[in-house]
Amino acid sequence: MYPPRFRYEAPRSIDEAISLLQSGGGEAKVLAGGQSLVPLLKLRFASPDLLVDINGLPGLDYHRTDADGTLRIGALCRHATLEKSALLKASQPTMAAAAKLVADPIVRNRGTLVGSLCHADPQGDWAAVMTALGGSVVAQGAHGRRTIPVSEFVTGPFQNVLGYDEIAVEAVVPAAKGTRAGGYLKLERRVGDFATAGAAVALELSGTSVVRAGIALTGVGGSTINAEQAAAALVGRPLTVDTISDAAHLASQAAQPRSDHRGSAAYKRHIIATFVERILTQVGRGSAERAA
């Protein structure tokens, strides 16, 4: 398969990239890791006039924390970097759990977290993880930067709110108010397949009590699902068999799965409840052990 014809530019600065996007007038696409865009080009689902390859832009491959604990992930930070990151292992359990489950190891060498958010595939892992964490996307355009919460950034399947001349330059996870806990579980028929269902749980704990909770779901709706009621059921409470069971039930109710070749809607709902319960039970066990 060959992509359709396009013009190709590899700018050396963000400003140059933005002016190229402006010149493209809505018919330009940003190329970062390319692990979704290149297949889309080959399948002729996308046929931009201009590709703006940002891989040559300096200084965008970082992931680091500010002094206040805010985590920033640059537009060229690859999944593989996050998978191997000591920083995530030490301080971001939900992200660390997800990083090794994105696509397959070879794809992870190229694909990027920010690109995954922009692509906004309902079965993308990072959109669920970042939604659960209350993260946001920083977009840069000709008129400066703006910060957009991930829950507002993704507007539907393969849709985001970026202007045609804006580049998503980084993703941001706010500093935690408590001790981070949580996880990410995904059911896939084989490595690299689209998710049958996935659940991201991001908690902040004070002792055994939950001070902040986020739960978001992968692959069980037309877009990433923010299970706000399920998360709210945990805040201000300790993790007990009852609170865990409530949250798991509410998360499965928030899912909007469709029956397909990966499983029935009822099966996918069941998976969501099981995953949320499993993650919360593990967190509960850990926090009880720390308190003891």
């Binding site: 013009r7 190709y8 080959k42 390859d53 190891p105 060498n109 490595v191």
Partner: protein
């Protein structure tokens, strides 16, 4: 210089812009003129006649087209040739000289790591990248590292054995 234009797009109008790409393939600097939409896998196979890189699924699933890009395995059907400008690419032809075998190749031979052989180049390059980073992997680590490469013949058992064989041989060589 290798021109790819006529070979790949016979119907292309004459005014399609091409770009000059300087790329090091298996240690040799090459300069090619390519249409931006040309995929790296096609540059390697049709342009540079390095047909050891296979194109299988063509949809980023199977990993038969895996090559090393600055030492890291990537799927060459999912990268544009223009993106390789200024970079180093290693294909299966670059694993060892024409009359010798890389320990990974020896391992696949010794442990019967292939049947039809279609997935083998990608498997071997993914394995080499693993062993460069982790000279003494567990079986689980080998399976994990190869999980982006599909084999439809072997059931993977002998592929994993082959990589472990190569790891032991490389460690013995270092010792």
């Amino acid at each position: 210089m290798t021109s790819l234009f006529e070979e790949i797009h016979e119907d292309a109008p004459a005014d399609v812009p091409t770009r000059r790409v300087r790329i090091t393939v298996n240690g040799q600097p090459r300069t090619v003129e390519v249409e931006p939409r040309l995929l790296l896998a096609h540059l390697l196979r049709q342009g540079l006649k390095l047909t050891g890189t296979h194109t299988g699924c063509d949809t980023t699933n199977c990993g038969a087209c895996t090559v090393l890009f600055d030492g890291q395995p990537i799927k060459s059907c999912t990268m544009l040739a223009v993106q390789a400008d200024g970079h180093e690419v290693t294909t299966v032809e670059g694993l060892a000289g024409p009359s010798e075998l890389h320990p990974v190749q020896e391992g696949f031979k010794d442990e019967h790591g292939l049947q039809c052989g279609f997935c083998t180049p990608g498997m071997m390059l993914a394995a080499k990248a693993l062993l460069d980073e982790n000279p003494d992997p567990t079986e689980d680590e080998v399976r994990w590292a190869l999980s982006g490469n599909l084999c439809r013949c072997t059931g993977y058992q002998n592929i994993v054995k082959s990589v472990l064989w190569a790891a032991a041989k490389l460690r013995a060589q270092q010792a």
